[in-house]
Amino acid sequence: MSPVLALARAGRAEWSRIWSVRSSWAFALALTAVVLGFGVVIGSEAAGDPSGVTPGSTAWDGARFTGMFALFGIVAMSVVIATADHATGGIVPTLQWTPRRGILLTARTVVVVATTTLLGLVLVLGAATLIWTFVPHLGLPFGAGAEMAGDLGFILGSGALLGVGIGLATRSTAASLVLALALMLVGPLLLAQLPYDWTLQLATHLPGSGALFLIFGEGPSDDMTTTSARLTLAAWGLAALAAGGWRLLATDADR
């Protein structure tokens, strides 16, 4: 079997693996309820109080906020999917079926990141449509939508990459969720409140700060730019994947 064929088949198996357990469906449904629910809240508030709507804004601007909820859900979902095999012992048959670990790593990363990122984007698109339904004059211009999809795709994809990487590195669902929460939410908020320059700098360089800056345009430090935020987010995602990849490639299957 050529590596390309093995990768394609491993990818197909990963897709089956994700959607053949209830936890994935539960995550997807919960995420759908939260993101679309906030779409309804934002849309109905904008319809009820038009003075609160910034002139020139579109339904996409409202939907951008729901991207934050999608991001946290996607990081958690990626962690749960990436750690499921190790938490259940399923990594033993998995590595018997796909013993070339580089292929398993690539297939797992690509399928989980693509699936969760697309899910997040579709839900944010749904939220934008709901907002537009409540406030039709905001409009859904294609150009602004494509720009937001690009931005959010990068943010969600980096978040998913972080989740997969942490999951593969720690091999523990609980430890991964705690670490992800610390990096994405608690760390940036807590460190930025401490009266030290170095904690502020540290907060600025955490992935949660990068994501929040790209979504809301605000971060813990005024020094942050779109480029620095993107770099921070991408670097954390890739570093986590490197750590998780090393664990999968270089160590025993489940020890």
């Binding site: 093995a6 018997q96 025993d252």
Partner: protein, 307 residues
């Protein structure tokens, strides 16, 4: 053919597997025996590339497992029946496996039927008994119709019908010319089905020989005698007899036929309550090899150690 050469695995300072060298040849069932913690599972895991050897190699058909073109079609393995996602159905578990090798999904239903799990295949694995999980693991091993089979304790949790089924399955595979390596702590099972045995203790090879040779090498048939006067009988046994007290009123004797002992007892007026030849069991041979006193002498029974 499965080949282990100088296979060694260290966990920190613990030597789990120590310089193991043996072959598992096609057309035979090879029993893999050893006490708990002897290194059987670790050895099988290294054969499948799950654990990395500290040194040495394990190959299947001349290649490391991960280098096989289509591993599932060449090797079927059941290592740990509990190692499955409990939230997946049995059928979905096998369909994931089938997709990794482009195996038609109809084959999944075939093997489920073969192992007797068809009716339960759409239930989640968390609702399966240990025996059902074992059958599912075996179905996974059979999915690619492989030429090499590795089973770690395959009869665990199986009922009597299941045990008989797995016995005939293993025998059938070997008779078809496939390579079968099976570990089990049930000596009677291994004795019934294995043509060869590889015995390890403390991670080291203790014996690698034909089952019949191991049984013969462990002393051949013995005679069990129950008598109210065992000491008197022991004193009158010929010098070449090897006798052992196995109870207050029971002895076991090797090297002397039952008829001869009966005549001897009659001659000295010792009453006999029970007199029977006891076939040498693999369990006895195994204990004599892996017991602390015998460990040093165990290499005598080893053919493969010098390879």
């Amino acid at each position: 053919m499965i080949t282990a050469r100088g296979l060694t695995k260290l966990y920190g300072s613990i030597r789990a597997v120590d310089d193991l060298t043996f072959d598992v040849v096609p057309g035979t069932v090879t029993g893999f025996l050893g006490p708990n913690g002897a290194g059987k599972s670790t050895t099988m895991r290294m054969m499948l590339g799950l654990d990395r050897p500290t040194s040495g190699t394990a190959t299947i058909a001349g290649k490391p497992y991960a280098a096989l073109a289509a591993p599932l079609r060449e090797v079927g393995a059941l290592l740990d029946a509990a190692a499955m996602h409990p939230g997946r159905t049995g059928r979905a578990h096998l369909r994931v496996a089938a997709r990794t090798h482009g195996i038609p999904l109809a084959r999944v239903d075939e093997v489920l039927e073969e192992v007797g799990l068809a009716a339960a295949s759409r239930r989640r694995i968390k609702g399966y008994s240990l025996g059902m999980r074992q059958r599912l693991g075996i179905a996974g091993a059979l999915l690619g119709d492989p030429g090499v089979l590795l089973f770690d304790e395959p009869v665990n949790g199986l009922d009597l019908d299941g045990v008989r089924w797995i016995r005939s399955l293993l025998r059938g595979f070997a008779d078809e010319g496939r390579t079968v390596l099976v570990s089990s702590h049930l000596m009677s099972e291994v004795q019934l089905v294995a043509d060869r045995v590889v015995v390890i203790g403390g991670g080291r090879l203790v014996a690698d020989t034909e089952t019949s040779a191991l049984l013969t090498g462990a002393g051949g048939p013995r005679v069990r005698v129950r008598t109210p006067s065992p000491d008197e009988l022991l004193r009158s046994l010929p010098a070449h007899a090897v006798a052992e007290r196995t109870g207050d009123h029971e002895i076991e004797v090797a090297g002397v036929a039952a008829r001869e002992i009966g005549d001897l007892a009659h001659g000295i007026g010792v009453r006999i309550h029970h007199l029977a030849e006891v076939e040498q069991s693999l369990e006895h041979a195994y204990l004599s090899l892996t017991g602390p006193a015998s460990a040093a002498d165990a290499a005598v029974a080893t053919e493969g150690a010098a390879r």
